[in-house]
Symmetry: C2
Subunit: 352 residues, 2 copies
């Protein structure tokens, strides 16, 4: 079968031939329908994040997949079920995080991530997965099911952020998403359609006309241009935010978020930047953190409960949004286009 | 009656004469027994924190009090009840934070704090307070009741920190308190006697012999000298911490905490520093925050539930601890000694 992989020593995706995998005990064979591409894939390809399976000369890419069960084996699934795989797998031996159903809380070294670190991803005509790591989704979501994994990431971030505010009566009204990439736009849509916010904002650094600004405004949110309004000036220009979701990976934003929050607000950090030293007014930020009961939470990956919630969320999002968000679905013959970046590209997927 | 106040334009406490207050509707008259002194009092005296009641030429100090009800008025209290007052009061009109019983979550301008900002404190022979802001405590705690307010501060910090970890199965084992002042030592004792930690640490910058190191080690915790082991090197020297409580007000600690936490750990920030610019590796800290699901929460003040919990906590702490912690209880004639600082001073109180 054909697969899309990055080879050791290379920094671009390549189509390779691999044997079709045989499902082991407790595993199903899944025929891949589509696999989404995100910033993590680009980081894996460039070598700045992730790592190859032990002894392998390549890593099959892809962690945002939707497929159809071809051979259910001894799993609870049936032939023809539409399924989305979760991303983390035990690194050999299982551990308490997997046994609890919370592999998203496992630290470094206690997990592999399909298509990212330690084990192959889903960008191949077929893949196998333990039945318990396959989420069944309605047939109506077969085409867009590759959006369930990124939505699940934000389901977790919302859940952890709200938990941090659960010791008191919190009545959030305003939310801002930092970043107008596909994850930022999906999360903005979630904040509007499935979360409790009255007023929403999305930060970017683009000139009009721009398709992401169009989506932001059609959703009913306010576009904030970070070149005019730095994150820590957002309260003066607009209002303090009860909730901030950082999806830029730009580390000054992580710290400016403290000032941009309203009293009792919470910021969820999702970006994974490289080291970068810079100056902050640590005294003022520390004081602001304390005197206004603010919170920051870091959030990575997601577990099965978040995938299940993401299925309902995707179903609740307006059709036009996904149409506008998914700017390209490409076959293997147009591989390079699927990985291209540009202001007119929001979200792409590979179709098998 | 006599009261201890700071006068506008001065930077030291003075004994003044004031009329004994008359309790209004819903208020009780309380005869003051003892009032503790903490870092906030020193900040108020120096003018770096807090503010005078409108139109007043002085501020009566003191927010850590215990007293006995002298005139219960129309409150639910009885003559002779031992009571501890909460600290926040509505600034004129009430607001939703007070109505919810969560004035600790009110932002700037929506509260006064007795003895700190906007309204007089408890360092006088008598004070009045609405009955609902007076916590009844057992007679056995009459002498040490002034420790209930600082313990309530940590009850809130623990509650908010745990809430931030409530979206997953968290099994904290290690805790570190940054700061060996009286609040740090009380919190360390709480971490050992009433919280779920197996291993505890306390950070200071003192040479032995030192009475705070003696307390740390008698409690069974490990003393960490920050001159030898900076906060962000604690995981290498000891272990990553599931919980960190920052009570130093030293802003680099707020950010070093991110590195000092174990995966899935939470840091509670309590210090209130002045502005101070310095450099951080914001990229590395941002990445660490995200990839290990860490959390930071700021926490200030406390509400009635935290005071109630603090009564039980104080009752559960060993007698020797409070004996060693309270290094001086002084009458008005020794006022200056009560406000003196030094390596042999841990916690002092004024006795009326």
């Amino acid at each position: 079968m054909q697969a899309i992989a990055v080879r050791r020593g290379e920094d671009h995706p390549t189509i390779i031939e691999k044997p079709r995998p045989d499902p082991g005990e407790g595993e199903a064979l899944v025929r891949t329908l589509r696999v989404g591409i995100d910033g993590t894939d680009h980081e894996v390809i460039s070598g700045s994040h992730g790592g190859y399976p032990q002894g392998a000369d390549h890593l099959v890419l892809g962690h945002e997949a939707v497929g159809v069960v071809e051979e259910p084996g001894d799993t609870d699934h049936d032939v023809g079920d539409i399924v989305v795989p979760t991303v983390r797998r035990p690194p050999g031996e299982s551990n308490k995080y997997f046994e609890r159903g919370q592999p998203d809380m496992a630290p470094d070294g206690e997990y592999f991530e399909c298509g990212i670190i330690g084990t192959h991803g889903f960008m191949s005509e077929y893949f196998t997965a333990p039945g318990k790591y396959l989420i069944e989704v309605p047939e109506s979501l077969a085409e867009l099911g590759f959006l369930i994994e990124p939505i699940s990431i934000s389901e977790k971030a919302f859940e952890h952020a709200y938990a941090s505010r659960s010791a008191f009566e919190w009545d959030p009204e305003s939310a801002m998403v930092l970043g107008n990439g596909s994850l930022g736009l999906l999360t903005l849509a979630m904040a509007i359609h499935t979360e409790p916010f009255d007023r929403t904002y999305c930060l970017g650094r683009r000139d009009r006309p721009d398709p992401t600004i169009d989506i932001i405004e059609t959703l009913g949110a306010t576009y904030v241009d970070s070149r005019e309004t730095p994150v820590d000036e957002v309260p003066a220009a607009h209002e303090g935010m009860d909730f901030i979701y950082e999806a830029t990976g730009y580390p000054p934003h992580a710290f400016q978020t403290i000032d941009a929050l309203a009293p009792n607000g919470v910021g969820a950090l999702l970006g994974v930047p490289d080291p970068w030293e810079f100056e902050i007014d640590g005294g003022a930020l520390h004081e602001e953190f304390v005197l206004h009961n603010k919170a920051l939470i870091g959030s990575v990956n997601s577990n099965i409960d978040h995938f299940d919630a993401a299925v309902d969320t995707l179903d609740a999002l307006p059709d036009w949004l996904c149409d506008d968000l998914v700017t390209g679905v490409y076959g293997l013959s147009e591989l390079h286009r699927a990985f291209e970046d540009g202001d007119d590209v929001i979200k792409t997927a590979i179709e098998f």
